[in-house]
C-alpha cells in the first residue's frame, strides 16, 4: 500500500486518535485528505 497520491478518509475517534491528527500524518506521506472526522461516542 502506497499512500502517495491516494485519497484518504481520516476517521478519528475522540478516545483514540483524532481525525485532524490522522489527516496531518497522511498529508506528510503525500496523500490527499478528502474527509476528516472525529467521532465521539460518549
Amino acid at each position: 500500500m502506497d499512500l502517495r497520491g491516494k485519497k484518504v478518509i481520516a476517521l478519528g475517534e475522540r478516545d483514540g486518535i483524532q481525525g485532524e491528527a490522522i489527516g496531518k500524518v497522511a498529508k506528510s506521506a503525500g496523500a490527499e485528505v478528502v474527509l476528516e472526522v472525529t467521532h465521539c461516542f460518549v
Binding site: M1, V8, I9, A10, A21, A29
Partner: protein, 101 residues
C-alpha cells in the same frame, strides 16, 4: 462517508482509522468494506470495499514524516493497545481479500 466515496471515487481511496481499541477498529473496518453490520444508517448494505488501515500500522507509519507522527500520534500510540488494534485491522483486510479472490 458514502457521499465522499461516491464523489472521490473508490479507486485510489483508502480509510485511515484512529479507533481506540480492537473492537471499534473491527467495527469501523467492516463498515467501510462490507457495509454496516448493524444494518443501520447510510452504509447499511453498502459494500464500499475500501482498504482500511489503522494509522498506527507499520504500512502507514513507515511512510509518514516521523516528526509529525510523533507529534500527532506518539502519545496515543503509547497508551492504546496497539498490537490488538493492528491485528484487528489486518484480520478484516485479510478476510475481505480472501472473500474476493
Amino acid at each position: 462517508m458514502k457521499r465522499t466515496a461516491e464523489k472521490a471515487g473508490t479507486e485510489d481511496l483508502i480509510v485511515l482509522l484512529g479507533t481506540p481499541n480492537a473492537d471499534s477498529t473491527e467495527l469501523y473496518a467492516i463498515t467501510m468494506t462490507e457495509g454496516d453490520p448493524a444494518w443501520a444508517g447510510a452504509l447499511a448494505g453498502v459494500a464500499l470495499g475500501l482498504p482500511v488501515y489503522h494509522v498506527t500500522e507499520n504500512e502507514v507509519k513507515s511512510q509518514v514524516d516521523p516528526d509529525i507522527y510523533d507529534e500527532e500520534i506518539g502519545i496515543a500510540e503509547m497508551v492504546l493497545e496497539i498490537d490488538e488494534i493492528r491485528e484487528s485491522a489486518k484480520s478484516v483486510r485479510d478476510r475481505v481479500a480472501a472473500a474476493t479472490t
